[in-house]
Amino acid sequence: MTATQKHSLADTATTAFCWSAAALTGVAVLAVMGFLIFRGAGTLGLELFFGQTPWWDALTGARPVFDGLWSALAGTLILVVLSCLMAVPVGIAGGVYLSVYASRRYQSMTGFAVDLMAGIPSIVMGLFGFSMIVVLRHALFPHAKTCLLLAAVCIALLILPYLVRTTQNALSGLPEHLRLLGPSLGFSTWQNTRHVLLPSAGRGILSGVILAMGRAAEDTAVILLTGVVAQAFLPRSLWDKFEALPFRIYYLAAEHRSVAELDQAFGAALVLLMLTGALFCLAFLIQRTMEHRWKK
């Protein structure tokens, strides 16, 4: 075999390898989604969410839902809203500080902590919440137990680093002339941040927030240790146990006793996939319009 032949053979192999890697990934993802849609699409409907309970009674909480996803879906939504209420203001403020105010040294030190937080496995975050309860029980409140509020705090800690990073990146991705605009007109640092930088980076930050919501909605390991249960109806207070969609999927996958329950599991999985998929698409679209704006 001549050198040229060897060369073209290696070229063909490289091309084939790259194409098949892409094809394999595509096929795998399509298989996952296709299978879920194939098995789950038939179960979608009001009955999947509310079972035999009339939906207006379920929505108002007048009657509990025994055989539907409603309480799991509601639990997840409450969890997402609560954790975002805690994490979003802190995360955005932290990102603004790191990008606008902080010295390089401080940036690098805090950046390390943020990366570390982003890397902490969610089960360790859940374990942290659980340990808080153990400590509290020993020290102050013998009746402390895992609950909705605890889970929301832990999830807030889980998504906090993403919010800090996306805010920081959105701000530092702005063109230099925008950054200089305010000071050149006599704005103070905060006025410039508030009236020039934040509005310009708003879309980037918003898409980060939406992605963080998706993460909060999908996480299972944290809530596994901080108070999720299989059957709880709607939480009545922050100190109550709760249900959540990802946990329902996990639970039913292992413990389904009938075909109907299995169908419900497929329905739940499809609903969760659609929920996170919708959040992802929203964030993607917002991000794209932002990029278009600053490329011109």
Binding site: W19, Y97, I120, V124
Partner: protein, 282 residues
């Protein structure tokens, strides 16, 4: 001016929350593991047998399980990611390129529990047939599902470096008459070695930290695997199983020790990434 100072302080406090939380988690874990050192219980935790009702609380099989699973998934995901990233950056025609990138971005948003759930119905029966023994819940099953989970992390981080390298080298190499595949082999890959290393380290972190895949698919038997068909238990799954099922507080030390080990692994990973130069956070 007064207002400015307070705003600044407030923002600074918000930025410190992450640092404080990370320290707090480390402190709590250390405090709860500390009794082990005092009572010489370290040897009982760092042992090879988990028979909690006989007083054996060893978590080393879980450490080995975690490592095998993560390294296996990494070994499968890395070549796939390299191929995919090179495909996206160099070989793919315009439309296919943006479609592939969108797909990889989308993969990051697919919930872990979905991968686990689908694998139970697609992958596990396949494995059961293939191995002709066991339940199909095995190291290999979890490894395959985990590959899909960590793939987008590796691809996205590696692709960012690849794009930079491509920007500097493409015109020169085109002028020199490189064919596209040999351009990938001889120029792009050597140029982006550091990026690949960072991507692999991040992927490893993602794999070690994942709970749901191993909990749902790996079989959870607390033993050192002898073959890919064996059931294993990872550190993360161990925490979930012990806390969620047994509530005897004598078991908890092993759980906190597992948590601390995971935390330290993540700290090491972040230090390694730092040494590689710049922030590679996804």
């Amino acid at each position: 001016m007064f207002f400015e100072i307070w705003i600044r302080r407030l923002l600074c406090a918000a930025a410190m929350v992450s640092t404080a939380a990370a320290l707090c988690i480390l402190l709590v874990l250390i405090t709860l593991v500390l009794p082990l050192f005092a009572h010489g219980g370290l040897a009982t935790v760092l042992a090879w047998q988990w028979l909690p009702f006989n007083g054996k609380f060893g978590i080393l099989p879980m450490v080995v399980g975690s490592l095998w699973l993560s390294l296996g998934a990494l070994a499968a995901a890395t070549p796939l990611a390299v191929g995919l990233a090179c495909f996206v950056q160099v070989l793919a025609p315009g439309r296919v390129k943006s479609l592939c990138l969108a797909l990889v971005h989308y993969m990051t948003s697919i919930p872990t529990v979905i991968y686990g759930f689908v694998s139970i119905f697609l992958l596990v029966p396949l494995m059961r047939q293939w191995f002709e023994r066991g339940t199909g819940f095995s190291l290999l099953t979890a490894m395959l599902a985990l590959t899909l989970l960590i793939l987008p992390t590796i691809v996205l981080v590696f692709h960012a470096t690849l794009r930079e390298a491509d920007r500097t080298a493409r015109a020169t190499c085109a002028a020199l008459g490189f064919s596209k595949p040999s351009y990938i082999r001889h120029v792009l890959l050597p140029l982006s070695r550091r990026g690949l290393l960072a991507a692999v380290i991040l992927g490893f972190g993602r794999a070690v930290g994942d709970t749901l895949i191993s909990l749902m698919l790996a079989g959870n038997a607390p033993m050192v695997p002898g073959s890919p068909a064996d059931a294993i238990r990872t550190l993360t799954a161990h925490i979930a199983l012990v806390v969620a099922t047994d509530s005897q507080s004598t078991f908890y030390h092993s759980v906190f020790a597992s948590g601390l080990i995971l935390f330290l692994i993540m700290a090491l990973i972040n230090l390694a990434l730092r040494r590689l130069g710049r922030s590679f956070a996804p």
